[in-house]
């Protein structure tokens, strides 16, 4: 399995959409398109704000309840940061097409019915944010997400950022957290059994991944897993910023 440690992203990859992005990290590759603000269908129309429509499409197989669940999580958190009040009665449509997921070489894939899990959330979230930025949809702030699994070891437990499919199988609980660029908690979803202390640790780890440079540097050497080499940028916010820097520089080359 060739998993790149540092995230990679390209903006405006789809020429016909208003905005688009392709993002790959930890074995996941997602392409997103954003169209909007466009005319909303009557049933989605809201008199005072824009309707944010999120569609998650698996690479193989048809989407099911798990995809709808992820869509609803994404929709509620993205509605929070998009300035929806600026575009009443309109629709902002975000389509997330999954292109690659990490493979588990030790099991045979059984299902044609796709079933996604929480570990894809950061990839979906980051791609959606990048595509929204590429579409110049007005937003309150940018945001980034990370996923942390609590994996039991012989005596203790360890926290794993971006767990692999095998680690996910062994995990007791999986948590998705998203933070805005101001460091506010935007989204917290958890699965499995965990204690309050564990959740606190998870929170700090996720905050570290998302916005290390903004928070204090006190807990730098947390229990991040050992084989995670910090080749890439300091944190996810930093990554989004540097990606956008290139795009803006190319767009405004004439300045």
């Amino acid at each position: 399995m060739t998993v790149t440690a540092a995230p990679q992203a390209a903006l405006s990859v789809l020429p016909r959409a208003d905005g688009s992005a392709k993002y790959s990290h930890a074995g996941y590759t997602v392409t997103a398109s954003v169209n909007g603000p466009i005319e909303a269908q009557r049933r989605d129309e809201h008199a005072y704000e824009a309707h944010v429509d999120v569609i998650v499409r698996p690479a193989a197989g048809v989407g099911g309840t798990r995809e709808r669940h992820l869509e609803s999580i994404l929709q509620s958190s993205l509605t929070q940061i998009i300035l929806v009040k600026n575009f009443p009665r309109s629709l902002i449509q975000i389509v997330l097409q999954i292109e690659a997921t990490p493979e588990n070489d030790y099991v045979n894939t059984k299902l044609v019915q796709a079933s996604l899990n929480f570990s894809i959330m950061p990839a979906l979230f980051q791609t959606a944010i990048l595509a929204l930025l590429s579409a110049a949809v007005p937003m309150r702030a940018t945001a980034t997400a990370s996923v942390v699994a609590v994996v039991p070891e012989t005596k203790s437990k360890k926290l794993v950022v971006d767990p692999s499919p095998r680690e996910l199988e062994a995990a007791q609980s999986v948590h998705v957290l998203a933070f805005t660029s101001q460091g506010e908690l935007l989204l917290a979803e958890s699965e499995g059994d965990f204690t309050v202390e564990e959740w606190d640790e998870v929170y700090e780890t996720a905050e570290d991944v998302c916005c290390k440079s903004e928070t204090s540097k006190s807990d730098v050497d947390m229990m991040l897993d050992d084989d995670d080499d910090d080749a890439g940028p300091a944190d996810m916010h930093q990554f989004i910023r540097s990606t956008l820097e290139d795009k803006v520089a190319a767009d405004l080359h004439w300045k």
Binding site: L14, R16, T29, I38, A59, Q97, E103, D105, Y106, K110
Partner: protein
């Protein structure tokens, strides 16, 4: 409901007039394709095709299931095409429109019914166990001629795909995981490709290859010819539109053959490049348990 944007009267008139003067907006010849790009993913069975601004992504996958009772000796092979709003906001999820139905019908006829994939080789235990191979086609960006691009993506994905190796010993079927045994390619018989002609003018006298979205919106008819490099025609679909002279159609078919030969060469070359890239240690030949047919 968002409507599909129609080109303006000025655009319609101008594109037609330019075509009469043998001019296209992007400076192409009438029978010239846009630059074709074909890339494979890190996984087996993932192919992305782009023709100019049209981008199509196809992924092949397989699982073990029970064969259909009326075909106990055949495996299951399906092609799924669902156009998402990513291609155009006018497409809706779970509500197929004409483009989508035509696309899936044409791919079905071209790839499945022409017997490109040897479905008998997918049978594991007669009447009990077989492989179900499935290709999902995703149109990422729709700028015309989705049919040709999708067909190429489907064929490329299937030829790139590897399914898990299996063995039968004493009536026990074992499916090996990729970690245990190197996966094996599908039984592939021939590679069909689609070539779509668009017709313009009152009597459909101007024939154009690889129409863009704007050209597709104003054409008076189209004809999709599916054939392989040996010139064996799998299907011809001329669905409605202005009638076209039979002689013109014959010309279209013979030109289509040269295009298909080009596609075939590109695909063979890309597949060879990809296998070379994967086979860095040069030991792939030893690892495969595949028997030459």
């Amino acid at each position: 409901m968002p409507r599909e944007a129609e080109p303006s009267l000025n655009e319609k008139q101008f594109i037609l007039q330019a075509l009469q003067e043998n001019l296209r907006l992007d400076g192409r010849q009438l029978d010239q394709y846009r630059p074709l790009e074909l890339t494979f993913g890190d996984e087996y069975g993932v192919a992305q095709v782009s023709l100019g601004k049209t981008k199509v992504f196809a992924k092949a996958s397989a699982e073990v299931t029970v064969p259909y009772t009326d075909r106990p000796l055949d495996g299951v092979f399906t092609i799924m095409t669902e156009l998402s709003p990513m291609a155009s906001p006018a497409f809706e999820v779970n509500r197929p429109n004409e483009t989508e139905v035509l696309l899936s019908r044409l791919l079905e006829k071209t790839v499945r019914r022409s017997g490109a994939l040897d479905t008998e080789s997918l049978c594991l235990v007669a009447g009990q166990k077989c492989w179900s191979v499935r290709v999902d086609v995703h149109v990422l960006s729709h700028d015309g001629n989705v049919i040709d691009a999708s067909c190429l993506a489907v064929v490329a994905a299937l030829r790139h795909f590897r399914k898990s190796d299996t063995s039968m010993e004493g009536g026990v079927l074992t499916v090996y995981t990729p970690a245990e045994r190197e996966p094996v390619p599908l039984g592939w018989l021939h590679s069909p490709f689609c070539v779509t002609w668009s017709f313009f003018g009152d009597e459909g006298e101007t024939a154009v290859l690889d129409a863009t979205r704007a050209e597709e919106q104003i054409r008076v008819g189209s004809c999709t010819i599916s054939l392989n490099r040996h010139g064996e025609i799998c299907q011809i679909a001329k669905l409605g539109g202005t009638p076209v002279e039979a002689v013109a159609l014959l010309q279209c078919t013979s030109l289509a053959l040269t295009k298909v030969k080009e596609f075939s060469t590109v695909l063979d070359r890309k597949l060879a490049e990809d296998s070379k890239r994967r086979d860095k240690s040069g030991r792939a030949a030893e690892l495969t348990a595949e028997n030459d047919r």
